[in-house]
Amino acid sequence: MTDNYRDAKAAYDAAAEKAVQKNPERYGQFTTGGGLPLKRLYCPDDIEGVNYLDDISFPGSFPFTRGVQSNMYRGRFWTMRQYAGFATAEESNARYRYLLERGTTGLSVAFDLPTQIGYDTDHPMAQGECGKVGVAIDSLADMETLFDKIPLDKVSTSMTINAPASVLLAMYICVAEKQGIKSDDLSGTIQNDILKEYIARGTYIFPPAASMRLITDIFDFCGKHVPKWNTISISGYHIREAGSTAVQEVAFTLADGIAYVEAAKKTGQDPNVFGERLSFFFNAHNDLIEEVAKYRAARRLWARIMKERFGVTNPKALMLRFHTQTAGCTLTAQQPENNVIRVTLQALASVLGGTQSLHTNSMDEALALPTEKSVEIALRTQQIIAYESGVTNTVDPFAGSYVVESLTNEIEQNAINYINKIDDMGGMLKAIEAGYPQKEIQDSAYSYQKAIETEQTVVVGVNKFQTKESAHGRKLLRVDASVGERQIKKLHEMKSKRDNIAVKNLLDDVRKAAKSESENLMPAILNAVRVYATEGEICGVLREEFGEYVENVVL
């Protein structure tokens, strides 16, 4: 920096201080939404140490700070993928076809809680939950209905399924078989990320070792038979929803990623190969600048980790490709129409950050499941950003901004510090066992709540600008109890019609595969699914063999 620059900067600082003396600023210390201190002004000296080619470089080149493709959205927009599913397979199938007709470009299946936790609808623990937060799937029969008249070689399907991911993936492959489509031609994603279930989301079934085996079995199986499938979506979304900061979201997600790569390497798989199929899933929170920096930092750090820690050379295995969902936790039940604006800003951040696919929340999601109308507005929000805003016409428009590059550095560095700490604890599995990431997230969540209550953080309509209004009379989507009864009836009918001897034999094969340390579980699960063994039956066998996880709570 030249002397002229220094003098001018000093003069500015003095003038600004003087102005503040007269009229104090709104806060003594400004911070980002994620709690990073934010300066009044960012200038060239804040990014003095940045080397363009090493740290930023061109889109499509290592370390991919500016994006994973060279021309980004000038070619094709991100995949507009709305997470949906409720009640039974029939109702959800109708919702998917409604979304596809309106221009959604990828499906995203929400399963109900019994499905996510490996219980059939008639299990006692499933009472009251059927079809509530997603669609109920008990067997291949339900999956066939779910994708009825949807050609699986033409859509890409993302499934939010973790502990029993193998079973649902097997069902999807079988539906494709029946449509005459080979597994090679299937594209989509299973979430399959158990570590964040232990940390933040809570839909785990099995203990860590067995869970990691199921995951690496899927990596291996898909590498050979479903090559276009994203075998995992390593998710920071739920970590953020549980209350983490932006830095923690990046740090814990990438630390989870490291644990998966290590586990797969241990089974003899090559990160240059399976690394291509790893995908990520981030949150889009309120602080637009910080969020843009967050995506850029995550991309750069992952590329560096894959290259330096794991010696990866295949560029496709260095790229962090990610899906984004706008932050459900920022939606308010008060004045819900305001949520449309929040979602717009969050979606904009993810596009400016270079997302590969996006789900925009519907305004009524703090109240209940979204209605068709609000889902349509959410999708239109993405389309307006894509077609009207202009931000998609040049690549990574925020690059070179002093504050954005500076925050990108800071988020990366803080995330590295966390990852080093987790390394010192012996890796993410050990850290989870000690309750470390859980505690860090809870501390952040609690201080965020306190900041709202002391009005340090303003939430429009909640702690400021409240109006007296009532949500009564607003139309909400409801899933009534009869859905569960219908689903149980269907399940029992199916069980009376299938070949129960074949089911028993093939479930025995699943058990044998589970007992064997070396056998890949996927083929046995596929065979069982094909003869309509239910998800609950398959997971039941695995529960008996693997045991169940009990959460580790550190409060």
Partner: protein, 133 residues
């Protein structure tokens, strides 16, 4: 000095979203209460047994999956069955305003929707427990 308020905070069913439950548990602790935290995946029977064994003044149910009708009804009726209707039941989570009157009619003391400050819950709980004694 009065006796310490003891509250069970429970996550019924399969819903894994425990941010709210943990935040309220900490806030109640910081307000001087003893909070018995059950963890995830509790059946109504487990929640009620816990409340009885722990001599709880109140049971707080956190639920975001939409299954609130089912679980409130079950917990409240089991408490009645055990002659423990004096134990206050309250709750929070993703519960639409229009469902609240139903839950109150079942016997819930209060239902706190999204955006409720922890202070509101604490004040209500202190008053409700005092009235109960």
């Amino acid at each position: 000095m009065t006796d310490k308020i003891r509250v069970v905070i429970a996550k019924p069913g399969l819903d894994g979203h425990d941010r709210g439950a943990k935040v309220i548990a900490r806030a109640l602790r910081d307000a001087g209460m003893e909070v018995i935290y059950t963890g995830l995946r509790q059946t109504p029977e487990q929640i009620v047994a816990t409340a009885l064994q722990e001599d709880a003044d109140a049971v707080g149910i956190s639920i975001l999956s939409g299954a609130h009708h089912f679980y409130f009804e079950k917990v409240i009726s089991l408490l009645k069955e055990k002659g423990a209707e004096d134990i206050i039941v309250f709750g929070g989570g993703v519960i639409p305003d229009e469902d609240v009157p139903d839950l109150i009619a079942m016997g819930a003391g209060a239902v706190f929707g999204p955006g409720t400050s922890t202070g509101t819950t604490i004040d209500w709980l202190k008053k409700a427990v005092a009235k109960d004694e």
